[in-house]
């Protein structure tokens, strides 16, 4: 059945004009239409925060729950009904601060949910405090003299928790976002999609280097499995392995040809180079990696739960409560 973005749309979003969430929402509707799952087979589950309002704008099943618990709630929903396509939508505070524990354990278990992490590096709904992704020294209402702590880097946290899928897109980049969301849906297991999203009110410009197309031409690299890691307006730059790290080179200079350039392997089980790609762009002279950085097949929690239910069920002789009673030591009193 042919579906359109309209089939997934509901209501009038209440985010600030220019908020990155608007861009993401439009891409999400389009991505779901392209994926084609029936709206009634989708559950969109969020926590609390600006971006967590998103389920209200979906014509699917959904819950806008409590702060930080979306991953835990989504886990229960998916285990109880693995047939559903389950999407968690969280901000950086909801997903990585108060919800950090659930985030890492979802990744560890590899439950088949898609986690959309809308990262604007700020607490918007509470009007401008630093978040766990704000850079060290970040000045906000709750850190007037700058923060004295390092941020989480979502990919690092995902990989550290044995995550098998990590992708990144910029909210304003519709094709990039749709591509990432479709890949997340196709991936079986926890799929983390970090969406770089701008808060126009409290942290305007945080992703400026890649927020528009021109910026991305210079400061981002689109990674695609099986393709060389090249970037720049004319794809004139590339990445090569250099000792234990990566090096940015110009093709045709210093003897580097396209054949020297690393070919992206999102399916490699060893996440070493994928992590290096994911961490690029933090003022280190490297471009920000966009696209599917890691996408590795692994057993999923929900499938394993179902398989074990079936396996044990086949092996055991009791399948009703009355039969269960008989497995005990029973005596009769006359």
């Amino acid at each position: 059945m042919e579906r359109t973005a309209q089939d997934y749309k509901k209501g009038q979003p209440r985010w600030c004009p220019g908020c990155g969430d608007h861009f993401f929402l439009a891409s999400f509707h389009k991505a779901l239409a392209e994926i084609g799952v029936a709206p009634s087979d989708i559950a969109v589950i969020s926590g609390i925060g600006c971006s967590s309002r998103l389920p209200h704008y979906m014509a699917t099943y959904g819950m806008n729950t409590i702060h930080g618990r979306a991953a835990a709630i989504a886990t229960g929903t998916k285990v109880a009904n693995p047939h559903l396509s389950v999407w968690q939508v969280s901000g950086d505070g909801d997903g990585l601060a108060i919800g950090g524990n659930h985030f890492i354990h979802a990744n560890r278990r590899n439950i088949d949910i898609n986690i959309v992490l809308l990262n604007n590096r700020i607490y918007g709904l509470t009007k401008g405090q630093y978040s766990p992704t704000s850079p060290r020294g970040f000045v906000s209402k709750s850190s007037p003299y700058g923060t004295v702590e390092d941020p989480f880097r979502p990919a690092e946290l995902c990989f550290g928790a044995r995550g098998h899928f990590f992708a990144r897109a910029v909210a304003t980049d519709a094709p990039g976002t749709i591509e990432v969301l479709k890949a997340a849906h196709a991936h079986k297991g926890t799929a983390v999609c970090e969406i770089l999203q701008n808060c126009v009110i409290f942290n305007n410009g945080t992703h400026d280097s890649v927020y528009d197309k021109a910026g991305r031409e210079h400061n981002a690299i689109y990674v695609r499995h099986g393709e060389p890691l090249v970037f720049g307006p004319n794809k004139e730059y590339g990445l090569v392995q250099d000792g234990f790290g990566l090096k940015r080179v110009e093709i045709g200079r210093d003897g580097y040809t396209i054949d020297d350039i690393l070919v992206h392997d999102a399916h490699a089980a060893d996440n070493t180079l994928q992590l290096k790609l994911a961490l690029m762009g933090d003022g280190d002279g490297f471009p920000v990696a966009l696209g599917v950085i890691r996408d590795v097949e692994a057993p999923t929690y929900d499938e394993a739960v179902m398989a074990q239910l079936a396996e044990v069920s086949a092996a055991k002789k009791y399948h009703t409560f009355a039969e269960l009673l008989e497995t005990n030591d029973v005596w009769e009193v006359k």
Partner: protein
Amino acid sequence: MLPRSPTGRKAYLCSRTGCSKSLKDTNITNQTYMAEHLDIQELEQVVVRFSGDSGDGMQLAGNIFSTVSATVGNSISTFPDYPADIRAPQGSLTGVSGFQVHIGAGKVYTPGDLADVLVCMNAAALKTQLRYAKPDATIIVDIDACQQKDLERAAFATDDPIAELGIDSDRVVACHLTTMVKDALSDSGMDQKSMLKCRNMFALGLVCWLFDRDLEVAYAFIREKFARKPAVAEANIKVIQAGYDFGHNTHSTANNVRRIESREKVPGRYMDITGNKATAYGLIAAAERAGLKLYLGSYPITPATDILHELAKHKSLGVTTVQCEDEISGCASALGASFAGALAVTSTSGPGICLKSEAMNLAVIMELPLVVIDVQRGGPATGLPTKSEQTDLLQVLFGRNGESPMPVLAALSPTDCFDAAYDAARIALEHMTPVVLLTDAFVANGSAAFRLPDLNEYPEIHPHYVPEELRGTWTPYQRDPETGARYWAVPGREGFTHILGGLEKDNATGAISTNPENHDLMTRLRAEKVARISVPDLEVQGDKDDAELLIVGFGSTYGHLHAAMDELRAQGHKVALAQFRYINPLPANTAEVLRRYPRVVVAEQNCGQLAAYLRMRIDGFAPEQYNEVKGQPFVVSELTSYLTQQLGR
């Protein structure tokens, strides 16, 4: 020197009851055979307490003895009293583990105040457990475990612990238990360590002799438990027999050998069940009757973990258990499962409730079915993890932000955990609400004979699904006109997509709303829905027409309060008991019952939480209070002496 086993005393030994050899489907009759030249002392009831190191297997010995007794139709009530340490230093005072069982010819309501027989597997047990024995109790002690080193560990000052504790040596059976175990197993080829693991079975055998229990039932239990290790099973059986023979040969009892003949038998097929297992079974039964999959989200916590253990076994019944990363996730994931259409449950104890409160509150506003099991333990904070209290009552009633009404039930006994869990699930599914079931360490770990239930005798459960005819017009907060419950639209069903959440919603449209009138209305509708849940009337037992004093309690103190009432009535007092099982909503006749009697005592294991709640709900209600927070069950004799004073006022 320790006293030797008294011998030459008159022995009273009776024969077996007519119990068949297999434990499964055993046919018990009342028939008994009198052995020659043996007298029998018939006892109405007896309390036995096994005690030893936490690694000595006292719980197992106690369990087998209980099962053997229940098998002949005796009423039983058990109380495992174990330390928080898994394996405290051997022989230390803090590492003593006890298992008390009360056996009765008629109905027993409690594990008993004080023991008639106390088994002490070492010096530390003797020292710490003596306080749980009656002044004339028979005390069985392993002298081999009362050597110099053991006495030092147990902080005895002299080398004669019996004299030091002032125990009359005539009532002590001091035997070389360890030596006899080793002797019994000398040709088994077992190593020393494995042999010592069987010590508990010697004590079991001796107690079985003392109470004329059928060893075949114990053997069947052992063979089943060690089905995969037949050699271990046979070694244990040999030691049970050795203990039994020791009793027989030496007539080693300081008092009498006794038998507890069963009366008031309710015919039927029975099994032994703990409160936690009964809770798990109640949930399984409810899921089956509701036609739903059972989902448990949980995080291990004493004393609730056995519910997780039990449910994790039963995948062939479609039960899914998720051991979550924390208590929060246990409850939150259950709520997610509820949204997806499962019978969702989370199990915990007080400290876990603190963490689950937020998701419980979300369940209140989303109006989704959820069963929250709180197996209460001593608090606050970590408190007394292995001990029992009733101190979470006000927490589960009121411990959430906002107006957050939630039905609360409290199970009365280990077997009542089954009915209460079934009922909690039924209420949750039919009224679209989270429900709290309160049990506690005492009922959760205690056990009793459980008459196998026939589910057809239980009410049907009808989950409150959206009827098909509402397709097209349905909104998420549309309510059943009778119960006030909203309808359940489960994801996957086309035509009923909707959003729930923690933000207040418009009653008519289900959209987010901050409208003041709407919030006021929604608050009242949620409260009204809970208030309209129909619960049975509060039952008054005892002298319901003319009691001078009404005892009031809730949940697990039922047995102790009932026993206290029985005793007072036996003394000629007019006393009644009203035990609350449904706490929110309260039974409709609550005020009438509480006002009917000249004097009311609310007795509970907290500082007056039920009394405070009843005072709040019942205008002018001013009861006397009996409160105890010791982590131990009530002591019936203490209750009766307090109540007698009240009666005399």
